[in-house]
Amino acid sequence: MVGNTIHWFRKGLRLHDNPSLKESIRGADTLRCVYILDPWFAGSSNVGISRWRFLLQCLEDLDTSLRKLNSRLFVIRGQPTDVFPRLFQEWQTSQLSYEYDSEPFGKERDAAIQKLASEAGVEVTVKVSHTLYDLDKIIELNGGQSPLTYKRFQALISHMDAVESPAEIITAEVMRKCATPISDDHDDKFAVPSLEELGFETEGLATAVWPGGETEALTRLERHLERKAWVANFERPRMNANSLLASPTGLSPYLRFGCLSCRLFYFKLTDLYRKVKKNSSPPLSLYGQLLWREFFYTTATNNPRFDKMEGNPVCVQIPWDRNPEALAKWAEGRTGFPWIDAIMTQLRQEGWIHHLARHAVACFLTRGDLWISWEEGMKVFEELLLDADWSVNAGSWMWLSCSSFFQQFFHCYCPVGFGRRTDPNGDYIRRYLPILKAFPAKYIFDPWNAPESVQKAAKCVIGMHYPKPMVHHTEASRLNIQRMTQIYQQLSCYRGLGEHRAQPAETTANSLKIRLESLEESKQIPITNLIGNNIMCFFYSGRGHAAVKRSSEDLTPGGSNKAQRQTSN
């Protein structure tokens, strides 16, 4: 019996630490590595040119590495459910392997493929290697529920078994007798397409700031570790103007596509720490970047509505405003706030922005200024941001808009002040918004306040060459704090708080109650702290304050109040 195996690349675009591929090769006579091009991102079709380019570069890199092993990459267009039965037939497949995809859409797709495979008598090999841990085990440890707070997640992690070591890289030795039948017309049928072939306009496209591929990823990893070793400091680096720019040691897009194994990164980081600090147990904070990613994958894996507000059990229902015009201004960097516009410009041009820059623009769009739904922001990031995949993107947006996990909404990033504090000289603005280049540092973050003479001298009149600010930030943030306060007051109404309640809101009644209960998952984190809005919100609406208890009783008559009293403790 000839063993013909197919390895299906989706993420995990690498030959190092690829246990499912390695397993697949063992005992096989032929190997064909395929990439199926349509649909690409499970569950999302909103992809911009930077992300396509990155992907294509990853595929080229894979193809190059496979050539060195006398193999090739097979890029096939179509839907997996259509493509695979055909391939199984044509190639007389006996085995199919792929890396486990924890996202709900991915799981559904893979279940369908597994069914097709079993119908065709094809054995399926799946291994976890996109995440540090088997996420189902983390959930199991938490009593079958995904953890809802990062603290809880960290506590669970500290009780998990050690992270599995990365699998060895695929070499000629590993391949051994396994061969890849390559036809003469392979390049016609299965070559990696170019951007033009996919229908993109590439004239004027700048070179990629973040070149895709496993080779680049591994080089960057070495550089990243070298720099850490040289600095001998594993603390989070202080934010400065330079941090805003793309770094040659940045790794997040490579982790997202799987060009770099998170487990490899984890182990190399651990080794380096032990060497430099002569200390055997690194703190969890060392793996911050990786653990955040892991956290969002864990929270999302069993929630198909994770990327929506409606019907999402972990998302607070907030009455966001529908405003396509305002959204477009934000997405296209035309808000009139240079700090916001520069960030969105960098995002569109390069595909990556610093995490604090993300906080700034996300806050501005949602709870800070525009009061537009985080789902809209998430879609824009999906299109433009190289390292944003479904779970991490949706989770982060919910976090940044105070729609879930994190409710300390008092902290609002000022679109002028925050930028000014980060980059006092304004070089970042000048770099990405050359129209404002000639403004002095004093006015570059709020050019509308500059006297006419200064604007004329800078050859940039606000309102003509650069837009006026689209909102009055003070007014907007004042209103929005009120909104968030109202919403969180409603959340706490089940605890008998709230000084003005007509009746429990229909849409939120049951889901809120469930959510409040599930939020209180650890005795160490009392529910009031998690909701955390006693700051300026509920202090005068209850919590033992006799006078207001009286007035809330006045506000709701005997009947309905009973409902509230019953559900409070």
């Binding site: 902290h411 002040g417 007509a502 809101a505 160490q524 300026m536 005068y540 006045d554």
Partner: protein, 444 residues
Amino acid sequence: MKRVKGDEDACSSSSEGPTESCKKVRKLQPSKEKHQEEEEETDVDLCEFGFDWALLPQEILLNIFQFLPLLDRAYASQVCRGWNQAFHMPELWRCFEFELNQPASSYLKATHPELIKQIIKRHSNHLQYVSFKVDSSTESAEAACDILSQLVNCSLKTLGLISTARPSFMELPKSHFISALTVVFVNSKSLSSLKIDDTPVDDPSLKVLVANNSDTLRMLKMSSCPHVSPAGILCVADQCHGLRELALNYHLLSDELLLALSSEKHVHLEHLRIDVVSENPGQHFHTIRKSSWDAMLRHSPKFNLVMYFFLYEDEFGPFFREEVPITHLYFGRSVSKDVLGRVGVHCPRLVELVVCANGLRPLDEELIRIAKRCTQLSAIGLGECEVSCSAFVEFVKMCGRRLSQLSIMEEVLIPDHKYNLDEIHWEVSKHLGRVWFPDMMPTW
């Protein structure tokens, strides 16, 4: 909140004999009634009384219906005539929240127009606690006014006008809004709580409010009502001696107002909330005399003074120069070290402090002074600020367990020779008497 399932069968099956219905009752509702006599009775006795769902007393139905969300109640009301009658009992229509949204401007559903019609037709005189939630479209605000104008037979105790996004009430023609609102003011005569922030309410309409409701008014929230003048709000304070809660903007605050609220005839004030908002950079703000605050404090020693500041850094000149009885303080924009220093000196009653942003110089001294002088402080939140770890630990040590709310962004804490970030949470937890971590933001 148990749902009564399977009722439809039990209620509408007149073909079933009483014994069958009884069995179902026993199965479904083991002990819904808490009446002692019935608990002692046997099942057989229940059947002898010919008990069936259709005869469930209205008071009990009312009790059950109160636990149901409106939609479920509406479904239940379609089961039989008796339940339909129960659905329309006045007690169930005391409270209502009208949600007015347009699909073009909101993701949320609106209260069904048919339901609104029904309520106005059958229940407007039952309504007592009403709120309107409108989205950012003028249409929704108009719809709210439309309903308000029809509440002629209402004797409202509570009225809330809430904009959930942009303040759409402000976009209505002022007269249109005022006339709708005045309908309620004139007809209700027993308004106790009124929430009209971000609306174009004006002095004359406040006069109407006062003329009709001065005996009953206890709570008035009217932040950001630009058409009201200090004289207008003074009129309210002068006449409404039962006022316990007031929320307004700083430009309406005056020495006279504070004195009126502290007059002998006036009850103790419980909450005073003031929004200090800057329209344009360099705006000038008037000062309130210390003697006025002292009078307030003498009259209402336990009152909460809540102040939200949305000012530019250089507009704080008139504030915190003398002692002021603030209990809850929120800085929505960046505030200088200097001002925070003054807060430590002049706000002995401070209970909660939130600072959105400060700058890149450590607030060590200022925090420690606050810990020392603000002995009631129990909640603090720091956003974009910097504090050295040692000073922070010192601060927490001085406050001790009274700090029930400590919300510090991780970026705020600067590691120094004594503590790094990993160690600090243990130190702080120790002094707080509970496990504590700084707030984190995702960094991937």
